[in-house]
Every structure is written in C-alpha cells, then in structure tokens.
C-alpha cells in the first residue's frame, strides 16, 4: 500500500467520496437553518419559570385578577365618589336627616327634591349607615385600612423574623440554642389571648402627642402593630433558621467556600436566593392571617378606633340593625372573604409555582 495517498474508500461504505466534489458544490447553512438545529428551550431564570407556572394555574390567575380589581377600586373610588368616610351627608349645606340607613341606590327625600330641581347627586352604591354616612366609601376605606394593616403587619413580622432567624442560623451553637429556647416559649404562648391582653393594656398606656403621625394612626392601630412585632415573628424566625441551616449543608456552599468565595458573597449569591421563595410564600400567607386577626380584634372592640372604619368594625357595627339592614353586614363580610380567599389562593399558587419541594 502506497504511503500519503488518500484512504481507499470501502466500496460498501455510504460515506461521500469527497474527491468527486469541489468547494463550489457546497453552500453555507443560513442562520435560520442553523436555528432549526437548535432544540434547546429558551434559557429561563428562576423567576420567569415560576411566573410561567403561576400564570398557568387558573385559580391563582383568578386570585390575581380579584386582588387587582380590589386594589384599583380602593385606589380610584375616593377620587370618583364625592363623599368622605366620616362625612355626614348634607344637601346644599343643610344636614340631611332623612339619609339614615338608606338601601343601596336609593335617595332620601331631600335628595329626591334636589334631583327634581335639576341637581346632580352621586348614587349611594351601598346605601348609607345609621349616622347618615355613605356606606360604599366607608367599605372602601375599611378595605384600605384592613389591607394596610395586613401588609405592614406582615412586613414587621418579615423583618424581625429574618433578622432573628438568620442570626440564630448563622451563629449556631450556644447562641442558637438560647435564641431558640426564647422562641419556643413565645411560640407556646396562646397568641390570641396575649394579643387581646396587650391591646387592652396598650390602648390605655400609649398616649401620643396630638397631630403626630402616630396619633393619626390611632393608639389601637399602633398597638396592633406592636403586638404583631412582639408575638407573630416567631414562626417566621423558625422558618428562616431552618432554611439557613439546611442550605448551609449543601454541596454548592462547600464548593463556593473551597474556591475561596467570601462569606458575604456566599450569603448574597447562594443563601438568600435559595430561601427567597420560602420567604415570599410565607409572607403572602401571613397577610390574610393578619387581616383575620385585625378583623377579630375590631369585632371584639379593641381594633381600629371610630370613626376610622375597618372591615371588622364595620361588620361588628352592622350587627346592631341586623334584622332591618342585613346588607350592611353582607358588604364588609363579602369583602373580607374575597380578600382572604384570593390572598390564600395566590399564596398556594406561589408555593406550587416557586417551591416544588413544599408541594404536598
């Protein structure tokens, strides 16, 4: 066999005999043809993937739409409805005494005369209450306040829980042991009883200078936040500590450490993104439970102070005229149920979408 000659082609081989072709007989693949070869899915981030799963869940989508509708209503309504939540109705400067306990979409006698004269009057969509105030705007403000309390209470719980839980989880050892014993004791306190007790006492003890921000919020609301800050963070702290302890065990942390990553980078790049989903989910589920607690306290009479309405206090004051004006109970009741239901569904959807490990 001669050296340096091209390999002899096996007559049975299907391989092309290149000696028969020249460069001119080939053409380059176009970009489109190259892309057809690419079977990989588009690269996706953790967040995008979770959102895609979330939007495929019909219940979660309904919940998001409901929450958006409620949010738009409570933001826009005060600009459209010409009444305010503590305003006693009056027609042309005179107090309208007949506008008491009106049914939805009805007018009082004075208002009817005013309309007959050609005046314009905005309809009372939910009627009026026993003190001649427009009920729709009161329900709107009640929803605002209930949502505000739910959101900020969860934020307080989140911040304290993350700080306490992460310190305990990082330091470990004796510090962790003592910090967790404290959590155990607070956890075993009956929270609702303690909340009632604290609210009763704080309502008496807290006095704010008139005109300050705290005074505008009212002692009841401030004491509500203090109570949440004191008691409700323990669940979150436990959760965060558990997460950090289990994440610290992972191989990728060891790998990062062994190639010389600094603790700050490990915390930022590895630990926080990995517990983020758990944090978001439990915060989303914390909001409805805070709203529940607030409405319970308002119902008992130690929640938000009059004339400021919250959904719980509206429902409570509606009990007085239950027989004659049942709709006054129904509106705030339906509102609470809708908010809690949609937040619960959204929380469940978020959990299914972002944390497959938690799914059961």
């Amino acid at each position: 066999m001669k050296q340096n000659s091209p390999l002899q082609k096996n007559p049975l081989s299907l391989q092309l005999d290149l000696s028969k072709y020249s460069a001119a007989s080939f053409e380059l693949a176009t970009d489109e043809e190259k892309r057809q070869q690419d079977v990989m899915g588009e690269s996706t981030t953790f967040f995008k993937d979770g959102m895609r799963k979330l939007l495929k869940n019909p219940l979660a989508v309904i919940a998001i739409v409901l929450i958006l509708l409620i949010l738009i209503t409570i933001i826009v309504a005060p600009y459209i409805v010409p009444y305010s939540y503590e305003e006693i109705l009056s027609v042309e400067g005179r107090r309208d005494k007949g506008a008491k306990n009106l049914a939805p979409f009805t007018y009082s006698k004075m208002e009817q005369q005013y309309i007959a004269k050609g005046g314009e009057r905005f309809p009372h969509i939910f009627g009026t209450d026993e003190q001649c105030r427009d009920y729709f705007i009161r329900v709107v403000y009640g929803t605002r306040i209930s949502l505000f309390i739910g959101f900020f209470a969860s934020l307080i719980v989140l911040v304290i829980g993350i700080l306490y839980g992460s310190i305990s989880g990082y330091l470990g050892g004796r510090v962790d042991l003592i910090m967790m014993r404290i959590v155990d004791i607070i956890y075993s306190l009956p929270d609702m009883l303690m909340i009632i007790l604290l609210s009763v006492v704080l309502n008496e003890v807290l006095v704010f200078p008139a005109g300050s921000f705290m005074a505008r919020l009212g002692t009841n609301m401030v004491s509500l936040f203090i109570v949440f800050g004191l008691l409700y963070w323990v669940g979150m702290a436990r959760l965060i500590r558990g997460q950090i302890l289990s994440i610290k065990q992972n191989e990728y942390i060891l790998a990062a450490q062994s190639i010389g990553a600094k603790p700050g980078r490990i915390i930022r790049k590895h630990i926080i993104p990995n517990c983020l989903s758990v944090i978001i989910i439990s915060t989303a589920l914390q909001i409805p439970s805070a709203i529940f607690t607030e409405s319970f306290l308002s119902f008992v009479g130690i929640g938000v102070r009059a004339p400021m309405p919250s959904l719980g206090s509206l429902a409570n004051s509606a009990r007085g005229g239950l027989q004659s004006y049942p709709y006054k109970l129904v509106f705030p009741a339906v509102m609470i149920c809708l908010i809690v239901l949609s937040l619960n569904l959204l929380g469940d959807g978020l959990r299914d979408a972002f944390d497959p490990k938690l799914k059961r």
């Binding site: 009956p190 007790l197 009763v200 006492v201 429902a315 109970l329 009741a333 609470i336 619960n344």
Partner: protein
C-alpha cells in the same frame, strides 16, 4: 421517652408561669387603681382599702401573693360586680366546654370523613366539591359565619330559636365554631390520605388481596390520622378564642362571652383571671396532644 415527657412538662410549667407573670405585670401597668371612681373617696378611705387588699405593698410582693392565691384556686373578685371569679368560671366554663368539645368532635369526624372521601375519589365531582367548599370556608372568619347563620336561620327562616334560658340549642353555635377547623382538617386529611395511599405497604396489601374496605380502614386511614392529631393541639386554641365571639353573637352565657364583656367593661381582675385560666387550659391541651402524637407514631424520635 421518660426524659422527653419530663422535659415537655417542665416547658409547659415554665410557659404557664411566664403567662401568669406577663398577665399580672401588664394589668398592673394600666394607669389608675381599682378605687378610681367618679365619686372621689377620701384619701384615708383609699389608704384603708389599699391596705385591706394589699395594694400598698410593692408590686413584686403583690405578684407573689397573687400566685399563692392562684395555687389555692382563688382567682380573686371581679372589679365591676364584686362576684367571686371562681364562681363565675365554675358556672360558665361547663357551657363553653360543652360547646368547644362538640365543635371539636364535629370538626374531627366530618373533617376526616370528607378529606378521606376526597382523597379516595380524587379528581371526581365529590372531590372537587369538597375541595372548593373547604377552600371557601377557610376564608370566612368565624364571627362573620356566625352572624350570617344567625341572620339566615334564626331571623329570616326562623328554623332555630334565638338562644335564651328556655331554648338552648347548641346546633348553630357548634356549626359556626366547627366550620373553620373542619375545613382545615378536611384539606389536611386529604393530603395525608393521598400520601398514605401511595405508600408501599398499601401496594403490598393490595397485591396480597386485601379487600378494599380493609385496605382503607386498617391500613390507609390509621396512618393518615397522624398529621390530624398534630393539628388538633393548636386547634384547641382556635376553638377557645373562636368560642368567645360565637358565644357573644349567639348570646350563649359561656366563659368566652364573659371574657369579652370583661374586656368591654375594663374589668381587669376578671380579664387577668380568665386569661390565666384559658391560657393554662391551652398549654395543657397542647402538651397532651404532643405526647399523644409521639405515642401514636413510633417513627418519631424523642430529641
């Protein structure tokens, strides 16, 4: 095992002590004494009254005295009507207990039955219906459900009389109180039943030709009950707080409604006594549930 039980009992005793301490010192932080009335008393009278009720002693001594009396079962007297609190509790607690225990039994029974049914008929119509209703009911606060029930059945339809001395129907209060725990237990027992059904021992049992009835009741259901027991402990706390509003709405004269009226009247000794009593009850119930849980499930280690 013995060490674990001892540890848990010690923690419970410590918790009860902390609760008593918090309650006592919080109530003493409220400005104004019990003798601050609209009609001003002479300083000499107030001094005499303070000496009579040991209010002139330092707060810590007062706390020790209070604790000593508590251990003897003496809760003191109500600030507003002067009645002995022990008598009030003895009279009203049985009513609350009957309401709470019935609600708990209804919630546990119906909850597990509905949850297991949903799991066994997975993705069929009954399952969807049960899941829908239980999701709905976990979003309704008990006081709203109670008021709506009162409105619908007592006032509009008049099927049930409103509660008074002659007519004591527990049906509606129990229904209102058990709705939330029932919905929660339904969801919980559905997931745990599904979990149990997918275990290897179920497949083994089926492969060996065990009847469907025996498989469900002997193998699956018993194992699926374990998480439900864990949940029963915290649920007692919910039942106790929930019963406060339910009793107030249905005007049932139990301890819960007494507590709420004590809060409205600012009757501090009554608030203090009831809080300590109910909190101790919750801690003890939790302790029992915890120990039961360990007893039922031998897989759990005592750490």
């Amino acid at each position: 095992m013995g060490k674990y039980i001892l540890k848990r009992i010690l923690l419970a005793v410590l918790t009860v002590f902390v609760i008593c301490m918090i309650t006592f010192f919080l109530m003493h932080a409220v400005p104004g004494g019990p003798f601050n009335k609209e009609k001003a008393l002479s300083p000499a009278t107030i001094e005499a009254l303070n000496a009579r009720y040991n209010l002139d002693k330092p707060v810590f001594t007062q706390f020790l005295l209070y604790m000593k009396n508590l251990l003897k079962g003496d809760f003191g007297v109500s600030l507003k009507n002067g009645r002995e609190i022990k008598a009030v509790i003895a009279e009203s607690f049985p009513i609350s207990a009957r309401l709470g225990v019935s609600a708990m039994i209804v919630a546990l029974l119906l909850g597990t039955v509905l949850g297991s049914t949903a799991a066994l008929m997975r993705n069929k119509l009954p399952d969807r219906l049960i899941v829908f209703l239980s999701t709905l009911f976990t979003a309704v606060p008990s006081f709203i459900l109670a008021t709506l029930l009162l409105l619908l059945f007592c006032i509009k339809l008049q099927w049930f009389p409103v509660w008074d001395a002659s007519n004591q129907s527990y049906f509606l209060p129990v229904l209102a109180l058990s709705a939330y725990p029932m919905a929660y237990i339904t969801r919980l027992s559905k997931t745990s039943m599904l979990d149990a059904l997918s275990q290897d021992y179920i497949r083994t049992a089926r492969a060996k030709g065990v009847s469907r009835f025996k498989m469900i009741f002997k193998h699956a259901l018993r194992n699926s009950l374990i998480p439900v027991i864990t949940y029963a402990g915290p649920q007692i706390a919910y039942i106790i707080t929930g019963s406060m509003v339910i009793e107030t709405i249905f005007t049932v004269g139990g301890l819960g409604s007494k507590f709420i009226s004590a809060i409205t009247n600012r009757d501090y000794t009554m608030i203090m006594a009831t809080t300590i009593f109910l909190a101790t009850l919750m801690v003890v119930a939790n302790l029992i549930c915890d120990l039961l849980y360990k007893l039922v499930d031998p897989r759990i280690k005592y750490d």
